[in-house]
Symmetry: C2
Subunit: 489 residues, 2 copies
């Protein structure tokens, strides 16, 4: 027990002990039945006499806050609600250093986090098109649970100690095999395991960007990256996206004008637009990066989840000079709670990223890494991927059909060839907050398109709809509900 | 299969496929027995004719790189070592943006990570006084494994989905109980679960510090914090430490001169010195923080592990104005691989820290949080803590005895009242690298004291010795070995 006792205070020590426990109990921090330390223990911890503690406990008992039972010590008694101290009353004026305002994307992050976390548990009937992940009911939870149990038995203490800071070597080797099958020849010494791809992006930003720097991003892009740049005081410079991905033809003047320190791109199944950058733009982008000495951060968060069409090479497979840092994750295909992503980088930047990983959170849990490697090694990943591809393709088609039926002439969209998201464009813009609120009341959620814009608009042109998250009937019903709301504007 | 095929290249497509596979096989990225995609699959993925792929595979077979088996496809054949491409030959000149030098603490981080990771596995006989953690053989691995299995069965998909961004509510409540028993009345709405205390420190740095800012630190302090500040271009301003902790009497002129944006301190069992800040300095520090509007980051990484003496109140328990951000971890008492730490912050800074946590790595794994909470709830933590206290106290006494016997008049030290580390001072300084190397050759490792200094010295005054990591006989033998090396200088 560490308690702030002031030996020099004019308040007697027994009274300080009484005050501390009274406050802890009446503010609800000490719950009913919590056992207070024994008199002997507390007097030894605080370096005060036993009599002092005895007097304090006797006073607390007289006030009805605690009771004692022979042989089992002193316990907190039930407290009436009316006795409880209202926390709001005592909230102080916060110090000046605390008064820096929160940034707008940070606010968005919090808004996204809380209501949705609540909604997905609370309202049973709400149809969720807003998720950023696949269908949780398709996570290989049982397979994974079994693997984890096996690893705990097999590896014991070693599996639960700190491992290598750049990640568990067998897992890095397995990742190299997966990358090789996607055209990227990378050694395990160039792979860094991260806490999801979000951490990989964060590490690259910390390594390459200082406040005030510029970074090129697709004009609508992943809000987790935009929020990060904003929090680090980095300026995003937007470049247009069409149905063939980033308009790389417009890049050169931006490089000349803004001298960006990084190009952040999602070339395959771009988030939120769902488009893929075509092959010639990919080559041009890598070439411009080399010529202008600007690194590329390639976010390939879901490139493996393709339903049709020709597979396009990752930028990393074209890069021979070490200009592309490649980032991917197992969160989307397997399960988010694994929190395992990775990056691949050649050259001296690799060591800097490893040291930053270490300075950010020391290491990614060894147990998760070992379990993931065991799971991947037996070929379960490929068969799981095939299963998801089959199911999600069908759900996409259902959503496309429902949109055509219920939203028809009011919207435009491209059919995404892969990934999780359909990017719906409204032909006439609507007030963003009002539309979102009305849809939510109607029992359907999505992510408002303005959350992916550098300069957020008050008007809504786009809705990002996750078609993979739930079964076909729910998709159908959800689109019908959106149609009902759109019809009322 | 995503492979970079250039339709407009003068190199025929079949040749591009041959080149890709040859390179992947000869550079060792495709290992023996790896199965190539089927002809049908590859032609569909690449959008080329089956004949093209057939020709490419026939050529690879003719070159002896792959073989085919009826009904089971095409496989990589064993390759002779002499055929392998030497990776070194093709390492390019790295782009200019990669040529920024790594900082000295980042280098230390990498040096610490790699050789020690190797040594602890490799040399069976090396006695490890360099670890930053307790004895891995005392981790409650089996108890924890059982809890984890139970949680997987109990919570299924929900336990493996994203949870609340600030952490699993029941765990935050349990942490409040632990904090209350240490004199801190905090609500669960002010607790943020982090990936170890390292991440908590990193988030606070990101929220409060910009490059060029000054931060007050104890003159010798945790190198993971120093490395982080250096990587973020923050200037540490050192303040002296004596046997009563930070010399707070010297703080005011530093606050007036350097206008620091943060005071980082480890008041209890300071790392590396092992000392505790006395009560009146604690009060003075909190008061100066309030008066000068400078937040305090209190790193209480092992405050619960006390072997004797009076428990001192955390700074957070004295702070009523919201100036202290409190950070702690379960890595040291339970097991490091849990990667669960937490911070407690009052006021608007809390929301900013939550959003930064989300932008850094989205969330701490739900499964680990739920398992930890189940483990803590049944009182296992307190009994585990009592067990560790008993064992580590004995090991500390053994080390003190061995130092007195073998190092005697050459060194000075304070007996630490808790924690993991004994901070040994050499009466005459010795060359740091040479001393470390000679000890390592003699079969004993420690952390050179200069790694905790802001301005590293070439000479060694101090050795940080972990007395908790291994059994008593090893401690005795290790100190004897250090004595042998010291005697040879």
């Amino acid at each position: 027990m560490r308690m702030a006792i002031d030996q020099e205070s004019s308040v007697p020590i027994y009274q300080q002990i009484v005050d501390y426990f009274s406050h802890a109990i009446l503010s609800g921090h000490f719950e009913t039945e919590l056992r207070l330390p024994s008199i002997r223990k507390l007097s030894s911890d605080l370096g005060v006499s036993k009599i002092t503690v005895e007097n304090a406990y006797a006073r607390l008992e007289a006030e009805g806050l605690v009771g004692s039972r022979v042989g089992s010590g002193t316990f907190v008694l039930p407290i009436y609600d009316t006795q409880l101290i209202d926390g709001a009353e005592e909230s102080p004026t916060w110090p000046v250093w605390q008064q820096q305002p929160i940034t707008s994307f940070q606010r968005t992050v919090l808004e996204n986090a809380y209501p949705l976390a609540g909604a997905s548990i609370g309202a049973q009937d709400t149809i969720n098109f807003s998720s950023g992940i696949g269908d949780p009911n398709l996570f290989p939870v049982n397979d994974f649970g079994r693997v984890m149990q096996r690893i705990i038995r097999r590896d014991g203490v070693e599996g639960l100690s700190y491992g290598e800071f750049n990640g568990y070597l067998p897992l890095r080797r397995t990742i190299c095999q997966i990358m090789a099958s996607n055209g990227m020849a990378i050694s395990s010494d160039n792979i860094l395991i991260t806490t999801g791809s979000q951490q990989a992006i964060s590490l690259v930003a910390q390594a390459l960007l200082k406040n005030g720097d510029n970074v090129i991003v697709e004009k609508t892009t992943y809000n987790g990256a935009l929020g990060l740049f904003e929090a680090l005081h980095i300026n995003p410079i937007g470049i247009a996206v069409d149905d063939q991905g980033m308009c790389v033809e417009q890049l050169e003047p931006l490089l000349q004008t803004y001298h960006p320190k990084l190009i952040y791109t999602i070339p395959t199944f771009q988030n939120p637009s769902g488009v893929c950058m075509n092959g010639s733009r990919r080559r041009m982008l890598v070439e411009l990066s080399r010529r202008y000495n600007v690194p590329i951060l390639e976010d390939d968060y879901i490139g493996d989840l393709r339903y049709e069409g020709v597979a396009l090479p990752p930028l990393k497979s074209i890069d021979t000079a070490g200009n592309v840092i490649y980032v991917s994750t197992f969160s989307k295909i397997l399960m988010p709670d694994l929190r395992i992503g990775f990056l691949a980088a050649m050259g001296p930047i690799y060591d800097r990223l490893v040291s930053l990983k270490c300075l950010n959170d020391l290491a990614t849990p060894n147990l998760s890494q070992r379990s993931l490697n065991a799971y991947l090694s037996v070929g379960s990943y490929q068969s799981h991927l095939r299963k998801l591809t089959r199911i999600y393709k069908k759900r996409r088609d259902v959503m496309v059909g429902a949109i055509t039926k219920y939203l028809g002439s009011q919207v435009e969209f491209q059919i995404p060839q892969g990934g999780l998201f359909l990017w719906l464009s409204l032909k006439r813009p609507l007030p963003a907050e009002e539309l979102f609120k009305r849809c939510f009341e109607e029992g359907v959620s999505y992510v408002p398109g303005n959350r992916y814009l550098i300069d957020k608009s008050d008007y809504e042109h786009n809705l990002r709809l996750n078609f993979a998250y739930q079964p076909e009937e729910a998709i159908y019903k959800g689109i019908e509900r959106i149609g009902k709301v759109l019809g009322s504007f």
